[in-house]
């Protein structure tokens, strides 16, 4: 299950990277939520999985209503982003399967692919909705990561991650700033 | 208290009478007259009894007697342990600058005088480095073979420096407009300090008897006459030659003496 979740995580991340419209962003976030839930479930955290999925889906639903119109997938000029998704996927596969061990292989690949994609999107994007979606995605990944490590705190961490993911999608997009000098 | 009073009385006697003020004045008067004869300058009439002496002469005289009180002269009432070479050297050194401060128009080429004074100071204090003592009579007594080269070289440098320091060189001060310089009262009080210090530093002190006294004043007088002789030679050679001698010969020679002192230090350690 974790391997499938890893693929879904890459897919969700890739969609967030490639989408400029609210529908595409919402879809990407939903996919990421599903992957996060799957990873949590495979780690034996069923309640956590449900909470993460709920938070992510709620965030995706909110994003579906806020942001630029349409899907905005693969807009002209998005070739570098497409390359990023492929390269990130390949590198994550190599790192997750060949260079590291510990936890499940799905967890390793999913985290190592989702983080660069979301971080890259956050660094590259100019649109607030896209940035907030990337942040929401990061919250979900954080939720997944919080189960690993020495002293994880169970469902509470998932709940906080879910809240942050939903909250990040829910905050109103601030008005575009005045141009400088006025 | 008695000790203080007796010591103060001895110092006062040394300052005012012997080897202080009166000795300084008498010796200086004699030598200055000799110099006047040699240099064919007008002796004039230093009628010091009729008017108050100028401050500059008073201060120079005070410095001179302070220096003279430190000499290893026979019958000097100042106890040998109480005499100090630095006091003597600095007091004499100050005399030139007292003139510059109070009567600047009487000082010729102060820059060159400063250089010569530095050379003179090296000749005075240089021999005191190795013996590690500032008692003039101790330095006069030094006859250790290892230290003699420095002592002899320093003595020669001392004599070389005397004429300019005594203003016996042919450099006319700014205010001197007369062709024949007149009797110089300030210089009169400097003859004994400069020449007496030479005797004190470079000759073993004599005993407190007449022979010692004669010996001390004899050597001092010879030093003064040597100075007069050098001064007259310089006068004949002219100002340019004199300046060249002191700028190009005496200064390097003093560096040589410095090197000699360093070598002696290294050898005796």
């Amino acid at each position: 299950m974790s391997d499938a979740a890893a693929f879904v995580a890459w897919l969700g991340g890739a969609v967030i990277v490639l989408a400029d419209g609210r529908r595409g962003l919402a879809a990407g976030l939903a996919l990421l939520a599903a992957a996060a839930g799957g990873l949590a479930w495979s780690a034996g955290q069923q309640e956590g999985a449900i909470v993460l999925l709920a938070g992510g889906v709620l965030g995706a639903a909110i994003r579906f209503t806020i942001g630029p119109e349409g899907w905005g997938l693969m807009q002209p000029g998005s070739t570098p982003r497409l390359l990023l998704t492929v390269v990130a996927g390949v590198i994550a596969l190599w790192l997750g399967l060949a260079a590291t061990s510990g936890e499940s292989s799905g967890f390793r690949v999913a985290v190592l692919v989702a983080l660069p994609l979301l971080a890259g999107r956050a660094l590259q994007a100019a649109e607030a909705a896209v940035l907030l979606t990337a942040l929401a995605g990061l919250a979900l990944v954080l939720g997944v990561v919080s189960t690993a490590g020495p002293n994880h705190v169970g469902i509470a961490a998932y709940a906080v991650a879910a809240l942050v993911a939903a909250g990040a999608s829910a905050i109103p997009i601030p008005a575009t700033p005045r141009p400088r000098g006025t | 208290m008695t000790q203080l009073l007796s010591a103060a009385a001895a110092e006062t006697l040394a300052l005012l009478v012997y080897p202080g003020l009166i000795t300084v004045a008498l010796f200086g008067l004699v030598v200055e007259i000799v110099w006047s004869a040699v240099a064919r300058q007008a002796i004039g009439r230093p009628n010091i009894w009729r008017r108050r002496p100028p401050t500059v002469q008073v201060i120079v005289a005070l410095l001179a007697v302070l220096a003279a009180a430190q000499f290893a002269a026979p019958f000097n009432p100042v106890p040998p342990a109480d005499r100090n070479l630095v006091i003597a050297a600095i007091a004499i050194g100050f005399t030139a600058w007292a003139e510059l401060a109070l009567d600047p128009e009487l000082v010729a080429r102060p820059g060159l005088v400063l250089v010569i004074q530095a050379c003179w100071l090296l000749s005075v204090l240089g021999p005191a480095i190795e013996p590690e003592s500032l008692r003039p009579q101790v330095l006069g007594n030094v006859l250790v073979p290892a230290l003699l080269p420095v002592k002899v070289a320093a003595g020669f440098l001392y004599l070389l420096c005397l004429p300019p320091l005594m203003r016996l060189w042919p450099m006319a001060p700014p205010a001197e407009r007369r062709a024949r310089p007149r009797f110089n009262a300030t210089r009169t009080v400097l003859w004994f300090p400069y020449c007496g210090l030479f005797t004190t530093l470079f000759f073993p002190p004599g005993a407190d008897d007449v022979a010692g006294l004669v010996r001390f004043f004899g050597i001092t007088a010879v030093a003064a006459l040597l100075c007069v002789l050098t001064g007259s030679l310089l006068a004949r050679r002219g100002a340019e030659r004199a300046r060249g001698l002191y700028a190009r010969a005496v200064a390097p020679y003093s560096l040589l003496l410095l090197g000699l002192i360093l070598v002696t230090l290294a050898l005796t350690r």
Binding site: A99, T100, S101, G102, E103, F107, R108, V111, L112, L115, L118, A119, A122, L123, A125, A126, E127, A128, L131, L132, A134, L135, L138, A139, V141, L142, G143, V145, S146, A148, G149, P150, N151, H152, V153, G154, I155, A156, A157, V160, A161, V164, G167, A168, I171, P172, I173, P174, A175, T176, P177, R178, R180 | -
Partner: protein, 405 residues
């Protein structure tokens, strides 16, 4: 229950102030009361006591507790003596929100939850209206969250020794990105309101982020502690040199103030990098002086910065001395502790630090002049800040004892 209240009460206070915006006095009173409650809860949350009311164990470390108390004190001073043209309610709202986030980070049982709180703070600050583009306000903090998350992820994996060093790099780079120090300096607009500018990351939230990240660093990067120390010291020196020079030479006075915060952070990073207690103490003293000295002075200088006023009054020179970390102000004992830790570890580093301390002087003189001629509340505020700085400059022991040092 205290840690939960320490988070909840300031958060509720911030919410109250926002909700009661039409009635500023009531908003102020409610916010102040809830904030005071939060501070009381922080006081009562003794380090040795952990709370498990929500199924999650919360506790405050001594260092974080002392920082929260100092930050609350700084906020109280600023709200009591607000800078010209600043609304008390707005200051209180942002301050309490920040305090709630800081407390949440401080009480978090692990770094993941702390980073979630950080992410929440990023989102909340981004929600404000600033002059910079939304993306430029969010980018660097988002990178910080991503890097810290990556550090958490990598620490959960096993692999070659390089993996631990990568964790160290991600932690330090994430911390630098969150703070906005070199090489991750946030974009800065002199005209932007302070709350939505990079200043809160440097001067209010940053200290807590640093304390929390450094506290968890050793667990996460086991075996790479030396790498963390080296990275912190390296970045610290880089920030000291570049930021002090920039604070002196940059064109804009407001930017000069921002660089001066970064320069102080250079000292703090060096202190954290020198893992000895003296180094940590030095870093904490620097952070206290940022919170109680540099931040309030910056806010009180904003008006004269707008008016481009440059004065050479005594108060300007005394402020300059305080900003330069000269004795008897709080920066000096911090520098002494730093010298001591560096000497104990590697004396050439102490030499470099001692020389670098002089770089504060020209920039501080410039910043002191930008204070203008403080009058009224501003003058009282400056006097209080200087008095506190002198008090802790001569006798920092109570603060260090509060931090368990």
């Amino acid at each position: 229950m205290e840690p939960e209240l320490a988070v909840a009460l300031p958060a509720a206070g911030a919410a109250c102030v926002s909700a009661l915006k039409p009635r500023p006095r009531l908003a102020l009173a409610a916010g102040a009361a809830l904030g005071a409650g939060g501070l009381l809860a922080v006081f009562l949350s003794r380090p040795e006591v952990a709370s498990d009311q929500l199924g999650i164990t919360l506790s405050l470390s001594p260092g974080a507790r002392s920082l929260l108390i100092v930050a609350s004190l700084a906020l109280a001073i600023l709200v009591a003596l607000p800078p010209p043209r600043a609304e008390r309610a707005s200051l209180l709202r942002w301050g309490l929100g920040g305090l709630a986030g800081m407390t949440a980070m401080a009480v978090s049982p692990n770094l993941a939850v702390a980073v979630m709180a950080l992410l929440l703070l990023v989102v909340l600050q981004a929600a404000g209206t600033g002059r910079r583009a939304f993306s430029s306000r969010v980018r660097a903090p988002a990178l910080a969250v991503a890097l810290l998350t990556l550090a958490l992820a990598l620490s959960a994996l096993t692999g070659p020794p390089l993996l631990n060093r990568l964790v160290a790099v991600c932690l330090v780079a994430g911390l630098a990105a969150a703070l906005g120090v070199l090489p991750y300096i946030h974009e800065f607009d002199a005209e932007e309101p302070t709350a939505t500018s990079p200043i809160p990351w440097l001067a209010f939230l940053g200290p807590m982020i640093a304390v929390v990240v450094v506290a968890h660093a050793d667990d996460l990067a086991e075996g790479a502690e030396d790498a963390i120390g080296a990275l912190l010291i390296g970045l610290g020196l880089l920030n000291i040199v570049v930021a002090t020079l920039a604070s002196w030479r940059t064109k804009s006075d407001a930017a000069a103030w921002r660089y001066s915060f970064i320069a102080d952070w250079g000292l703090a990073l060096c202190g954290f990098g020198l893992v000895l207690p003296e180094g940590i103490g030095a870093a904490l003293l620097v952070l206290y002086s940022i919170l109680l000295g540099r931040l309030p002075l910056y806010l009180w200088s904003r008006q004269s910065l707008r008016e481009k006023a440059q004065t050479d009054r005594p108060i300007n020179f005394i402020v300059a001395a305080a900003l330069a970390g000269s004795a008897p102000f709080a920066g000096f004992p911090a520098r002494i502790l730093l010298l001591r830790a560096a000497t104990a570890m590697y004396w050439p580093l102490a030499l470099v630090l001692a020389c670098s301390f002089l770089l504060w002087l020209p920039g501080s003189l410039r910043l002191g002049r930008t204070m203008g001629v403080p009058t009224g509340r501003q003058l009282v505020g400056v006097a209080i800040a200087l008095t506190i700085s002198v008090a802790f400059g001569l006798f920092p022991r109570p603060l260090l004892a509060l931090a368990g040092l």
